[in-house]
Symmetry: C2
């Protein structure tokens, strides 16, 4: 039950696309991720996916369009919608997903699949 200072937390995150757990809200994970370049195309059939850009630029590629997010912008990818985040060149982002969600969704087993570490 401590506050989370995003700047302090991101200063401790070097690795790219390795989500870090900083808080829980009900049964949801509050994750911080340093993004660089392309993630992987995937979808989550059981949950929406919330992205908030803290710094940098993140493009949420959808099959029919791109959603460009800059610092101070958020976007919710609805459940079942294929998406592939791309940071151009880098972004610090908050992701909110239910506990137990695989970061790569139906692309589980990708080299980017990662269990969040608590920091």
């Amino acid at each position: 039950m401590d506050k989370v200072n995003l700047s302090d937390k991101f200063a401790r995150i070097d690795e790219v696309y390795k989500p870090k757990l900083v808080a829980q809200y009900n049964d949801n994970k509050i994750l911080l991720t340093r993004a660089r370049g392309d993630f992987v195309w995937h979808k989550h059939d059981d949950t929406d996916d919330l992205f908030f850009v803290v710094s940098g630029r993140l493009v949420i590629q959808l099959r029919d369009r791109d959603v460009e997010l800059n610092a101070g912008e958020l976007f919710v990818v609805p459940r079942g919608v294929e998406h592939c985040p791309r940071a151009d060149p880098e972004a610090e982002i908050i992701v909110i997903e239910p506990m137990g969600t695989i970061n790569t969704g139906d692309a589980e087993g990708s080299s980017l699949t990662a269990e969040p570490e608590r920091i």
Copy 2:
């Protein structure tokens, strides 16, 4: 399924402690609130309450301590814990709560109880 630019949205919010719904994530409301001065002591027995400060300073008063939040800091008030936010003097904040949650919790009927308007 549009992105949300916080700066654009807050520019449309004049009223104090009148939450505005800007997005939904699963069964949760993503709310923007302009806070000024004291809110009201309350608790939510069924849910945690997530606060994120976009600008300004927000003190989450708890019965045993104060949690001071500046821009870029977040805090989750656990379910059942009495709290009273105080903006000093003003803050722009994101609040995440489940759909159906009353903003004033068990202090429902307070003059600050408000149903969020979608913007």
